[in-house]
Each structure stands twice: as structure tokens, then as C-alpha cells.
């Protein structure tokens, strides 16, 4: 089964297009395919949930979308990932620049040992922005991530003093501060309690009105709550993709049916 790349209803050109993407891991005998000929599009202002069982390749999939996959030795990527029509794996493209346009949030909060402000300003400092620009961008990013009201009184305190959920929203703010067009989120709530999860999900719903969000989750309920589209991966293959309601309620494939109803073996 190959890609079923249905453009979203808006009629706008997709921001990210994935074309016959295959990732192989070096193995003793034959190379093992972690992703097998995956293809799909991501429309502007949308939230796509990538769901699937552990080990189905969903984390590897989002890591290919900003070339983070290259930090893992032993993986080879083939196929294309087009960002605004430009292949991010082409020789002339600098991966550093790709990651500044396509941000990423990880499973557990990864705050750096510095103040709340400096964490949010991290990406901007890398770009040597002016202090004025950094001040306003940090406030904007913290507001967009829904953390501003909780930290505005003491931006200089250590980021470690925040709760887990606040730390995760700080990581989202750090990614947003450089104004990326795409934000990848790899199970961003898997280490958070239900209350913190709710707030991060609220942040996601707000953000999808502005940028492209790609969310990896193994939680079908979360996909139902926040996403517009769902892509179901199974053993490195894209089984099917479509509008959330359709995939979760009337999936075409038997495998998807089993996964979303919790009868997966």
C-alpha cells in the first residue's frame, strides 16, 4: 500500500509533503526498514496526529521531518521530505536551518539549566537577535504556549523550579520563539498528569490555527480531542490517513479499526 496523499480541503498548497519516505537501520544481516514508503501531505493551519503502537516508527517519522533522524547513527533515509516545495534532504540544504523552520518538542520536558527567560530565548540567542527583539519574542512565545501568566512575575527563576507541565509548555515556547512554520510534537504529554495534559492540549488547539502541528501520540483519545487528521502507522507502513472523525469512527482498514477500538494484537 502506498501513499494516499489527499490534499486537505482548504485548497492551499501543503506546507510539508512526504514522498516515498523510507528509513533503514543498519543491521547484521539485511537492513531493517523502520519506515517503508510513507507518503502524505500536511496542510497549513492543521493538526495531524500520527498514531500507532510502540515501535511502529512514528517517532522516527517525525524525526525525519526536520532531519533530527541524522543525530541517530546507523539510519539511512531515502525518499523526499518537501518543505514549501523544497527537499530538505537536498545537498544544498543546511540541517541547522531546517530545524529553525521546523521546531520540535519531545516526550519529556527538556529544559536547559538556565532561567525561564533564557530557556525561551535560547533559539533567538542562537540567531544573535537584539535584546529588544528577544524580549518581545519571548513574551509572544510564552503567551502562545499558554505559560505567560504563570511565569511573568519572575522570568529569572530557574526553569527547574517549574512543574512538569509548565516545563513542557516552556519547551513549546522555546520552539515557538523562532517562529517556526511547523512544530513537531513527539508524545508531548506522555510524562504529564491529566491536568497538565489538558493545558498542553489547549495550547495545541490554539496553535493549530496558526501553524502546522504534527503530533505523535499513542493515545487515540488525545488524537480525537485535538487533531484534524489522523495518520495510522503500523510496522513502518502508513496504513491510512484521513480526517480524524472518519479514521476513528469509520476506518477503511481492519488494522486501523482494531487499533482505535483497543483490540490490537
Amino acid at each position: 500500500m502506498t501513499a494516499n496523499a489527499i490534499p486537505e480541503g482548504s485548497g492551499e498548497a501543503p506546507v510539508v509533503q512526504v514522498r516515498s519516505l523510507t528509513v533503514q537501520a543498519k543491521a547484521k544481516k539485511a537492513p531493517k526498514k523502520i519506515l517503508d514508503n510513507v507518503g502524505m501531505d500536511f496542510a497549513p493551519r492543521s493538526l495531524t496526529a500520527v498514531i500507532g503502537a510502540s515501535g511502529c516508527g512514528k517517532t522516527t517519522f517525525v524525526r525525519t521531518l526536520n532531519r533530527m533522524v541524522e543525530l541517530t547513527p546507523g539510519l539511512t533515509v531515502s525518499g523526499q521530505v518537501l518543505y514549501l516545495g523544497q527537499d530538505i534532504y537536498s545537498r544544498s540544504i543546511n540541517p541547522v536551518l531546517v530545524r529553525r523552520r521546523i521546531g520540535m518538542v519531545f516526550q519529556r520536558p527538556t529544559v536547559f539549566p538556565m532561567s525561564v527567560f533564557e530557556n525561551a530565548a535560547f533559539g533567538l540567542r542562537l540567531l544573535h537577535e537584539s535584546d529588544n527583539e528577544i524580549d518581545s519574542a519571548v513574551q509572544e512565545a510564552l503567551t502562545r504556549s499558554g505559560l505567560w501568566d504563570e511565569v511573568k512575575d519572575d522570568l529569572d527563576r530557574s526553569a527547574f523550579s517549574l512543574s512538569g507541565g509548565q516545563q513542557q509548555r516552556l519547551c513549546i515556547a522555546r520552539a515557538l520563539a523562532v517562529r517556526p512554520k511547523v512544530l513537531l510534537m513527539d508524545e508531548p504529554t506522555s510524562a504529564l498528569d491529566p491536568m497538565a495534559t489538558q493545558r498542553v492540549e489547549a495550547t495545541m488547539r490554539r496553535l493549530k490555527e496558526e501553524i502546522v502541528l504534527i503530533l505523535v501520540t499513542h493515545n487515540v483519545g488525545q488524537a480525537a480531542r485535538v487533531s484534524d487528521r489522523v495518520a495510522f502507522l503500523h510496522q513502518g507502513r502508513l496504513v491510512e490517513t484521513g480526517p480524524t472523525a472518519e479514521i476513528l469512527e469509520r476506518p477503511r482498514e481492519e488494522l486501523t479499526q482494531q487499533f482505535v477500538t483497543g483490540r490490537f494484537t
Binding site: F106, F122, L126, L127, A175
Partner: protein, 309 residues
Amino acid sequence: MATVLDSVTYPHGLDPSDDLRRGNTARLRWRTGFDRWIGYLLPLLFLVALVPIADLVWYIGKTALPTLTFTVISSQNSFQSYNALGVPLISTFYILGLATVIAVAFGLFGGIATAEFLSESAAGWVRMSANLLAGMPSVIVGYFGYFAFVLYFGWGYAIIAGAFTLGFFMTPYIFRTADLAFSSIPRPIREAAYGSGARPVQYILRVGAPIAFPQILTGVFLAMAIGLGETAPIILTVATNVAVPTNLSQGATYLTYLIWTGFQFGPHSVELTLAFEAAFLIVVVVIALNIVVRVIAARFRRRLEGLYQ
């Protein structure tokens, strides 16, 4: 009053309150007790190891302190006829300082490069070489310095030759801590930095360095403590000088040189007095370095508490 528990039946027909008691057999009791006694014994063994160290420090202190005055430390008279330590102290400061700069330059860059840039197999070879160098007897490193710097480069017996030799000897210790410090930064932190669009150098300076700094500083101070106690690389490359050297191509006297030569003289000689005084100073500085390391490490550990584990 009937409780929920009354309606529950247990397997094997055991009374639930009896189940835990029956499991506590004589064998389990004996093993638990044995474990506890081992727990008491191990700290005791540590104290046994502490005794010779304490005795050593006490004996050196007892012998050296009566003659060690401020005048002795500051006097720049020739140590060959006077009880004067000024010349070797200043010379040691020069040599060790320069050697540390050289070792930090090589060790820090090598360690960071190995942790961050080299492939798995290349890093393995570099680490093996560093371990080999660290395990090399210092006298062999001294001979290397003698042939390379003193003879081949023609520097003669000089501070610069000794500093490079001692620096090479200290390098693997700093290399190892720099490599380990950067390798042990949690992978998600590293990926978060790269995921924010950091170039490798930006990652190293802005995220890696603050996290790795205390560990690296520990390595530098311990390497200094090791370098301070070395004798062979110095004797073979700097030899001696009864005065404070005025430039890097002159010879100089290291503190350990006094210990090395002092014991060839009689029990009441000025040389033996100097040897004990030098030994005492080295012990004090080594202990001080270790305490400083602990204080710094503790302070930074508190700052890094909460880092992604």
C-alpha cells in the same frame, strides 16, 4: 462487625496475617542479618585504608612543621646550602601552570571532539590511546620528553620542555573527564538543543559547557594534583637550577626534585629537611585541591538538580 475482608478467601487456606510470618524462615533471617553486618563491615574496611594515609600525613607534618617557617618559604637563597624553598616553589608554579595550560588545551579539545564529533569506532580508538597514555609509567613519558624536546627539538633542560612533557602526562586525565562529561549529557537535552536549530559549536558552548563544566574542572584540578606529585618527567627534562629561572628555556627545580635527592643525604642534612618540607607542602596542596573540587562539584550539582535524567 463484618468487614469486606471477611468475605475474601485466600489461596492455600492461609490466614492472611500468618502468611508474612511463615515466609520469614531461619534462612531468610540469617541472610538479612548477614547483609546488615556486611553493611557495617565495609565502612570499617575503609577506615583501615585511611590509617596509613593519616599516619603518613601526620609523620610528614610532624617532621616538616618545626623547621617550616614563612622565611623558609619566601627565601630565594640557593637551596643547596640553605633551608630555603622560594626558588623551587616559584619554579614549580611556573612549570605546573604551563603544563596545565598545555594539558587543558589538548585534553579539553580532544575530549569534546571525541564525545561530539567522532564516529563510534574512531572514538573507541582515541579513548583506548588515552587510557594507554594514562597507564604509561611517568618515567617513560619522561624519556619521551627527554628525547623529543630536550634532544630532538634542541630545547635542552628547560621549563618549556618540562611543561610539555608534564602536560602530555596530564592530558589523558583531562581528556577523560571532558569526554565523559560531554558523553553523559542526557541525549534528550542534546537533541533539544539541536532541535532548536543550534550549530554543533553553539550546542557545545551554550548548553554542553555549563552542564559539563563542574566535571571538567574536577578533572583539571585532579590532573594538577597528579602533575604536582610527578618526579621522573621533570628530572629528565628540566633538571635543576639553584635560582629562579628568568625565561622558559632555562632549567628549574620542581618541588619533588628536592624529595628525590634529599633522601641520599644524612638524617640531619639540610637536604633531608627540605625534602620533608617539600613533601608537606605537596600533601597540603593536593588535599586543598581535592577539597576545592568537592566544594565546586557540590555547588554545581545543586544548580543542575532537575536536569532531565
